[in-house]
């Protein structure tokens, strides 16, 4: 019997299964990397292990004891550092460290707070010098270190870290990796949630890959490779590339010349991205989420100004303002619920946005053509995710656009609907539109794109043929160039 045993763990949110019957064992001293794309179920699985959310089904046993809820999880000394920092910004770092201490003395002098905080720091084995600064004034790296110290001070046996490096600079990541290895050497089980392959391979002794709520790969690090992990994360082997033949002579329409964006706007900004897409051409930008895709999409939507370089359309240099105002462009955001659909409005109202006067296909026609399962007057929140996506696509593509920038356009769609959307993109390209698809789906990139660029760490690769093997793309996505 293993030290930690997760059995048939299942958890749904609304109608989607986030985790579907996962079995996982672990032993003391293991350094496990839990990887997968956004929405693969990594965080949900670990939140169940930490007792933060109850499973719908399945059991968790650690050290022979059942874990049910936060009390038994902390009795089993399972601690989780969540992705979003839980610091009180107005309090000092020292005060934050002792905030959760249940045995605080009645009278709390500044001296006493300092002493308690210093002892917490020394228990954690990490260093921290800015105890008297307000947590809100700390850099994100310092704040996440503070959070880690607070967790370590409780002496965990199982430590779960949810993407701790997302906000860290490379040297800090290196330092953290080193510290975590030291902890596992002392017998602690450390589970690191990540989708950055470089740090996974720097840290882990074992890698576990989730996809769509299921465990798809569980292997010692020595018996796998970055590219096979990347392919496991993204799913399916590469299928034969698309058969679309270019019928229109292509001339360059969208051109990015060494474009950078500001780190103030995005966690992963663009770094000197150059890119050229012609009319009638479909280009796929493929990569693991969180590698600058948002910066690229926001830039082209005209939501942010480039910090360097130029964006040109048909040879005319664009500003955020002109990009935003371009009525001949269609934009499909990746975060449908946040940026795409207005849930409280009806399907018809969503289709009519932004309420411009120019001719559009009538609402009924859009519903029929895109096979939207819902009535015009129905509120968009009552539609399934896939149908919401269809509403969004219907709205954007019915503009008969010259430029289409679509992020994860078929996420949440079933096979038929996805095929329909792909046909729409191809038809638009055949009419001479410039299509840029930003996707984390290798299949989609290969079958739809006339060419592929890989995005990684805010940088975009050279133009690649859509027949490039998955292994090679996997390596580029992992940041090995």
């Amino acid at each position: 019997m293993a030290f930690g045993e997760l059995r048939r763990l299942t958890r749904s949110f609304d109608r989607t299964k986030a985790v579907a019957g996962i079995d996982l064992d672990f032993e003391p001293g293991e350094a496990i990397a839990l990887v997968g794309e956004n929405g693969a179920g990594k965080t949900t699985l670990m939140r169940m292990l930490a007792g933060i959310i109850p499973p719908d089904d399945g059991t968790i046993t650690v050290g022979g004891e059942r874990v049910r809820g936060t009390a038994s999880a902390s009795a089993a000394r399972i601690e989780m550092v969540q992705q979003h920092l839980n610091l009180a910004g107005a309090l000092t770092a020292a005060e934050n460290l002792i905030l959760h201490d249940e045995n605080l003395p009645l009278l709390l002098t500044g001296k006493r707070v300092g002493a308690l905080a210093r002892s917490a720091v020394s228990r954690s084995g990490l260093r921290f010098t800015k105890l008297q600064e307000r947590a809100g004034d700390l850099s994100v790296g310092e704040a996440s270190r503070l959070e880690l110290i607070r967790t370590l001070a409780r002496g965990p046996q199982v430590l779960i870290l949810d993407e701790p490096t997302a906000v860290l600079a490379p040297p800090e990541v290196l330092e953290l990796t080193r510290q975590l290895r030291a902890l596992t050497a002392e017998g602690m089980t450390v589970i690191l949630i990540s989708h950055k392959l470089a740090e996974v391979f720097a840290f882990a002794s074992r890698v576990v890959v989730l996809r769509n709520g299921a465990l798809v790969l569980d292997a010692p690090i020595g018996q796998t490779s970055k590219s096979s992990v990347a392919v496991a994360m993204m799913g399916r082997e590469l299928v034969s590339p698309g058969t679309r033949k270019a019928t229109i002579p292509r001339r360059p329409r969208l051109r990015l010349d060494r474009v950078s964006t500001s780190a103030r706007d995005h966690r992963t900004p663009l770094r000197e991205v150059s890119l050229e897409v012609g009319s009638g051409e479909i280009t796929a930008i493929v990569g693991v989420a969180g590698n600058g895709q948002n910066a690229l999409a926001d830039l082209l939507r005209g939501l942010i100004e480039p910090a360097g370089g130029t964006v040109a359309i048909d040879g005319v240099i664009q500003t955020a303002r002109s990009l935003f105002a371009a009525e001949t462009a269609a934009h499909v955001p990746s975060d449908r619920a946040r940026d795409g659909i207005i849930a409280a409005m009806s399907v018809a109202e969503n289709l009519r946005l932004p309420g411009r006067a120019e001719a559009r296909i009538p609402v009924d026609q859009a519903i029929e053509r895109y096979a939207i399962r819902g009535a015009a007057s129905q509120s968009a929140s009552s539609l399934s995710g896939g149908n919401q996506q269809k509403v969004l696509l219907a709205r954007e593509l019915s503009r008969d656009p010259l430029l289409i920038v679509a992020s994860e356009p078929t996420r949440g769609l079933d096979i038929d609907a996805a095929a329909f959307v792909h046909r729409e993109f191809r038809a638009a390209a055949d009419r001479g539109a410039t299509v840029l698809i930003i996707t984390s789906d290798l299949d989609e990139a290969a079958s739809l794109g006339d060419s592929i660029h890989v995005i990684s760490g805010g940088m975009v690769s050279e133009k690649l043929a859509s027949s490039t093997p998955a292994e090679q793309l996997g390596l580029l996505m992992a940041g090995d160039r």
Binding site: F324, I341, A344
Partner: protein
Amino acid sequence: MRRTGAAVVAALAALAAMAIVLALLGHPPARTMAILFQGAAGSSFAISESLLKSIPLLFTALAVVVAFRAGVWNIGGEGQFIVGGIAALAVGGMIEGGAVASILSLMAGIAGGAAWAWIAVLLRNLRQAPEVLTTILLNFVAVHLMGWLINGPLQEEGRRYPQSDPLPPESLLPAAGSTRLHLGIVLAIGAAIAVHLFLFHSAAGLRLRATGLNVLAARWSGVRTRAEITRAMLLSGALAGCGGAVELLGVTGRLYERFASGAGFGGIAVALLAQLHPLGAIPTAVFFGALSTGAGALQRSAGVSAALATLGQGIAVLVLLTLASRMKKEAGGGTAIFFRRLFRRTLRDSESAS
């Protein structure tokens, strides 16, 4: 339907609470509530007075509806109402009396209210100052601006009381028969219908509501959300200012200290009870107007403080918010959602400001 039901339940709860308070104060509730109803709707005069009281409330409620629908928290109806009144008086006083004077005066009120709201929008656009706070504070500025004016440059010729001279009677809005009910009721209902058509049957209204419901999605779809917010705030201020001008031209004829007497804040309550629906604001404003007319009668004949009306209004809104929080999934978003979002944004603003 459910929303109407919730509003009716809230109104009934308000009446019940008032009856209980009357009983606790030692007044026989049956008799005193009868006086309240008599005073509010017992005669054609009572009805005309109730309707009269609802006019300023309807204007300020419409102001709140427009702003809140766009996701901007204009709590400055009171100040915009006052400045509307000031502008109406200033312009009306400069021109020979007559219909032209009324119309120009009204337009001045609209412009004055919008200008007062524009200050808040400017602070928001330039310095990210939360309009929740700036509009509240601008209310105080408006109150004291009026206080200075009626003790100084605009004080009556005789300089006896802190009030302005009245506008000439021929500049005022015509009243119906022997009652005080004036043309403003038509203007107010017309404004409610216009706001309804704008919000729910125009492309501009679609953009405004989209901005309020999901500013990110609205922007992604191509709506210039900042311009929408500015426009909504100006329109909101214009409606409140129009209310002030109509009150001046229809009822008071002059400015004095208690000119607004809480019309701006009452409007928030009316808008919330109407669940931010412009047409729903009509019966709601009449209900609140009737409550305060009835409470006035109660004070005269039974010696019960007219503050009872305020109690009723407060209970109605509280009950509604409690009910609305259970309706959050409905299309259009419940009033409770607006409050949650307001609360969160205020927190975030104060966090980033500190």
